[in-house]
Symmetry: C2
Subunit: 300 residues, 2 copies
């Protein structure tokens, strides 16, 4: 990162914690600060306080990126652009985040979901460099998917909610799933809490030969089958706590390969799936760097 | 359509027939001509002959759109942009279509899949006017989906192939499906040939109370559930021969509503699905007008 790179600021606004970040990219992080996500006015004032302090200490930043939990309004022409909308999180429904920060800091502000931010960070600095179409999937407390199509995050009726698609079940699997809306959607089948409900103990405690993994790998393979055919990513990043099980990647790749059954003719698939289904290159920093990647977009 | 509208030309290149079209839009079609899709050099020469003849008769057209059967290469920067690529159709693999026509006619040429073209036609002249995100689904000999995301057709690894996603099956349904690649992907479950295989006679001959429709409506409802959550269309056009069964729309809307279970908060869904899941406004002309819509894009 050249020392002349412009200073950018980012806020990863999560459901339980926020991370503020200042810098120019992954090799040039000047400061980070973590805050709990509490009462909204208090939380937003704390974020503003951190950014004000950094501005005094490090000088003006050129742009600000906000990567937020959802659902959010991403339509630039909407009067509620930059709002968190119909969230079930108490006290946060219909909350202006990005417009408020834009008024306060008078710099260009970009706003997107946390998973879209993480996807853009991979596209800018990680293993998606040079690609226009890719997806970032996080399998943890829930299943989140950030789909980038021709360089833009999906946003029409709403942003994508691919974690709640229903998938074809593995024959013989009668687990009802844990999603309060859908039961056995993919989040209800293969998120951390779903695995715990299925196996009777946390995913982190299951040995690689536990039978639950066969179902989880099948179901995540089905999620990827659907992703390949609906938004056609050139690469899929697969992260989150559940994916810290090293045996899962090879199983999921096999499930996807078997399910697609050579239907899609593309060089990226013909070479095998090791370079197609990959862990995020930015690891645990993908979230905060996502906010910084959005700032970099706003600064272009 | 103002009489000063520029003349546009289109070619809908289908697997069994081609339709050439000349005009400015649905209310200003000057000429159409249908040809069988045969040996490729012969077919492409016939198309060129029609366009040459029209040019002599009606004057120069401003742009040309080609809506083709696939798979096709849609990347403008690719050396094989505008080619039909790995098709199983004999003699048509790796066929330059758009570059050839661009050289011959020296006008701007746009090229996309037939379903994407039909989607764009609905967006320009039909029931998707003013929308940036929508999907066109045709349920006939196969199931084709054209997904438009932020004004662009999906194209990354390839164009979308949403007709080959696997869906959650209706409990008690053990039909194996007819897709040679996937068996019970959605095309294998709910296309015309699938319905015929399931019911023992053609879909057009089945009464509305035939039990096969319950499965078909369920499975198409699942396709739409996935579409809503992956590419977030603001409206979905549902056409093709199978959808000429008038009872199907209401059933599919009910299946979708029940499956989403109020998960997606969007005004378009809150008003009921009658305006969300709709027949194509352009009817049987959606295909050729798709080619004309692509020409209009090339002319912008």
């Amino acid at each position: 990162m050249a020392p002349t790179a412009q200073l950018l600021a980012g806020v990863e606004l999560g459901g339980t914690k926020c991370v503020c970040i200042l810098g120019g990219g992954p090799d040039d992080v000047r400061a980070t600060e973590r805050l709990p996500t509490g009462e909204r006015e208090h939380t937003l004032r704390q974020i503003e306080g951190v950014l004000e302090r950094w501005r005094a200490q490090y000088g003006e930043f050129a742009a600000l990126g906000v990567a937020s939990f959802g659902p959010v309004d991403l339509r630039r022409e909407s009067p509620t652009w930059g709002y968190i909308t119909s969230t079930p999180k108490p006290g946060w429904r219909d909350t202006d985040v990005a417009q408020r920060l834009a008024r306060r800091f008078t710099v260009p502000v970009a706003f997107d979901t946390d998973v879209n931010g993480a996807a853009f960070a991979e596209g800018r600095w990680g293993a998606g460099a040079g690609m226009s179409d890719f997806a970032y999937v996080t399998v943890g407390t829930g299943i989140g998917v950030g789909s980038i199509v021709r360089g833009h995050s999906v946003f029409g009726l709403t942003h994508c909610e691919t974690g709640h698609i229903r998938v074809a079940r593995k024959p013989g699997d009668d687990f009802a799933g844990v999603c309060p809306f859908h039961g056995d959607c993919i989040e209800g089948l293969a998120s951390g809490p779903a695995i715990e409900a299925r196996a009777g103990r946390p995913a982190t405690e299951l040995p690689p030969d536990h039978p639950a993994w066969e179902f989880v790998a099948h179901d995540l393979g089905q999620l990827l089958h659907t992703l390949v055919l609906t938004t056609a990513p050139q690469r899929i990043f697969l992260g989150g706590g559940v994916m810290s099980q090293p045996h899962l990647f090879a199983r999921i790749r096999r499930e996807l390969e078997s399910s697609l059954n050579l239907y899609v003719a593309a060089p990226q698939l013909a070479q095998g799936l090791d370079q197609y289904i990959v862990p995020p290159g930015l690891g645990a920093m993908a979230g905060p760097l996502g906010a910084l990647a959005l700032a970099a977009q706003a600064n272009q």
